[in-house]
């Protein structure tokens, strides 16, 4: 679902492929993981701890902590991580 990428006026970086829960996702260098996931239609990044309801990136600027995923095994804010070839992403699930 590249519908969210603005076609005109942006020169995107090289194509990269990373893995989300085992499935490949394509994005462009220069995109944050959070934005790339959103553009790929992956908006449910985790489940809330008590209610177990879906949550997604909210602030995209490092404040809200809703976009935390496991990046190569370590919990990180996906809005603060740039996409790279070969990253292994696990969505957190409920803890």
């Amino acid at each position: 679902m590249t519908a969210l990428r603005i076609a005109d006026g942006f020169q995107r970086g090289a194509a990269v492929t990373f893995e989300v829960d085992g499935s490949p996702v394509r994005a462009h260098r220069g995109e944050t993981l959070a934005a790339a996931l959103m553009a790929a239609g992956i908006v449910r990044l985790r489940h809330s701890p008590r209610d177990g309801v879906a949550r997604g990136a909210y602030c995209f600027m490092g404040v809200c902590q809703e976009c935390v995923v496991r990046v190569d095994g370590v919990l990180r804010q996906s809005c603060q991580v740039g996409v790279e070839d070969g990253l292994r992403i696990e969505l957190r699930g409920s803890v």
């Binding site: 519908a3 969210l4 990428r5 603005i6 076609a7 005109d8 006026g9 942006f10 020169q11 995107r12 970086g13 090289a14 462009h28 260098r29 220069g30 995109e31 944050t32 934005a35 959103m38 553009a39 908006v43 449910r44 990044l45 809330s48 701890p49 008590r50 209610d51 309801v53 879906a54 949550r55 997604g56 990136a57 909210y58 602030c59 995209f60 600027m61 490092g62 404040v63 809200c64 902590q65 809703e66 935390v68 370590v74 919990l75 990180r76 603060q80 740039g82």
Partner: protein, 476 residues
């Protein structure tokens, strides 16, 4: 202790960069730290490496940001990007996790310029995927080249509404509606003071024209009452409100949308002065709890200066000027600028800043907190996203004796999660203030390290067990 620099500046937005540059010009050695890869902060954010923005898409913010980056690059300021500052101690030692691991910086003076974060009054469905901040939408639009959804409702208050909606339209996206807490009368009332910044006023009118041409419905004096959907935003319900954001009982409307960009103003991100136990005051006109400062940003803690929207929300250009003033003050306080030179240089900057604060005052009035919206929340509405704490639980804790915000945190876990209370703090404090009389009595979250959660893997690095400096055992 040997010191690394004369000054450490944390935050390389317009305020921090200006402070660093001004101090540096006086011959001080300055370290400038920011978690981003390039200076600019939120408003003047640099496009990420790999993404380039066509000149026709670049506006004033891009040009000002490039100028700021050129100035920093051309200066002797020691720029350290990608620095996640997590600890500040010992007047002043700053620890930051860098790509290379943890690094310490020391200096006798510290400028805190960490910017603001968005206020958002909860509503049913506000935690759903697809609901994002207005500032988030600007980041997606300006530095990621993305629209937030296929159909987006843009809601809340302040000038970002029109900015975000117009940029979505310009990017080929669809804006289902713009939903503004303010009415046309509120904007009209603000107009004379907004005229003090013809550049920004012109920009705003440009956005409005763009929305008109795209026939985007604009609903004044309306608020979002709920978002519904299976596991993400599918529909946004809005309803009319009065000047304080109370529902008037008027007809509600539903817009189909897969994204909602919403924000209710800005709150100073004063974590560093709070961590260093600087005196604060509750200043609604500045966005919330703000460090007490003199006209040059000097805080109650010796050697600490707070500038920009992290100290009092006023916008990018006033932030730059407040940073400039603090940089001059640092140089003066360090004995590198004579009192006469300091006064001379500061006078013109102060005059310009004061002129700009007229505009900022008008905007802040539009973006002010509206406690009535919080008071109307239903008991089952989630207040603390990290810990799923509902209003009803907060009220129960207040009934059980919680009287200040940190005690409320202990009773409920509200604010105890990884956002460290940034998302829920304003709402929780407003609820508590109804019972204890004032926001002053409620207080604010005690500042604690880390400034943001930090992965232990990055912080601890590789180590040998034998090298851990385990202290002497306690007595048996």
């Amino acid at each position: 202790m040997a010191r690394d620099a004369d000054l450490i500046v944390i935050g390389a937005g317009p305020a921090g960069a200006a402070a660093a540059l001004a101090a540096c010009r006086s011959g001080l050695s300055v370290v400038l730290l920011d978690e981003a890869a390039a200076p600019g902060g939120q408003v003047y954010r640099a496009p990420p490496p790999g993404l380039s923005v066509a000149p026709e898409r670049q506006g004033a913010d891009e040009r000002l940001g490039d100028a700021l980056r050129d100035q920093v690059a051309a200066s002797a300021v020691m720029w350290r990007g990608g620095a996640r500052v997590w600890s500040i101690s010992d007047a002043f030692r700053v620890d930051a996790v860098m790509a290379s691991g943890n690094e310490s910086f020391t200096a006798p003076r510290l400028v805190a310029a960490t910017g603001a974060h968005e206020r958002l009054v909860p509503f049913p469905g506000w935690t759903m995927p697809g609901v994002i901040g207005l500032a988030a939408a600007t980041i997606l639009l300006k530095s990621q080249g993305m629209v937030p959804g296929r159909r987006t409702v843009v809601a809340g208050c302040g000038p970002l509404l029109a900015a975000v909606a117009a940029k979505i339209v310009a990017g080929g996206g669809i804006v289902a509606a713009v939903v503004d807490l303010a009415g046309p009368g509120d904007w009209l009332k603000a107009l004379p003071r907004m005229a003090s910044r013809p550049d920004l006023l012109r920009q705003g009118l440009g956005w409005a024209l763009k929305l008109g041409a795209a026939r985007v419905p604009v609903l004044f004096r309306h608020t979002v009452t709920s978002v519904s959907g299976e596991e993400g935003c599918e529909a946004v319900t809005v309803a009319p409100v009065d000047a304080e954001g109370r529902l008037t009982g008027g007809r509600s409307r539903v817009f189909e949308a897969d994204a909602l960009a919403i924000g209710h103003g800005l709150v100073p991100g004063s974590e560093i002065p709070k961590l260093l136990r600087a005196a604060h005051r509750y200043a609604p006109e500045a966005g919330g709890w703000a460090p007490e400062r003199d006209a040059f940003g000097r805080c109650s803690v010796a050697g600490l200066y707070a500038v920009g929207d992290g100290a009092a929300v006023a916008g990018a250009e006033p932030a730059r000027l407040s940073g400039h003033l603090a940089g001059l003050a640092v140089a003066h306080d360090a004995g590198r600028l004579t009192p006469a030179a300091f006064e001379r240089e500061a006078a013109s900057v102060q005059a310009e800043r004061d002129r700009m604060l007229v505009f900022a005052g008008a905007i802040n009035r539009l973006m002010r907190a509206r406690p009535a919206m919080v008071e109307a929340l239903a008991p089952e509405t989630v207040i603390c996203r990290c810990e799923d704490v509902r209003r009803g639980e907060i009220e129960a804790a207040i009934a059980a004796g919680a009287r200040e915000i940190n005690q409320l945190k202990h009773f409920t876990r509200c604010g105890m999660g990884p956002c460290q209370g940034r998302m829920c703090g304003e709402t929780a404090a407003t609820l508590l203030a109804r019972h204890v009389g004032s926001r002053e009595a409620v207080g604010y979250w005690t500042g604690r390290p880390p400034l943001r959660p930090v992965p232990l893997a990055d912080l601890l690095g590789q180590f040998d067990y034998a090298d851990i400096p385990v202290p002497t055992p306690a007595p048996l």
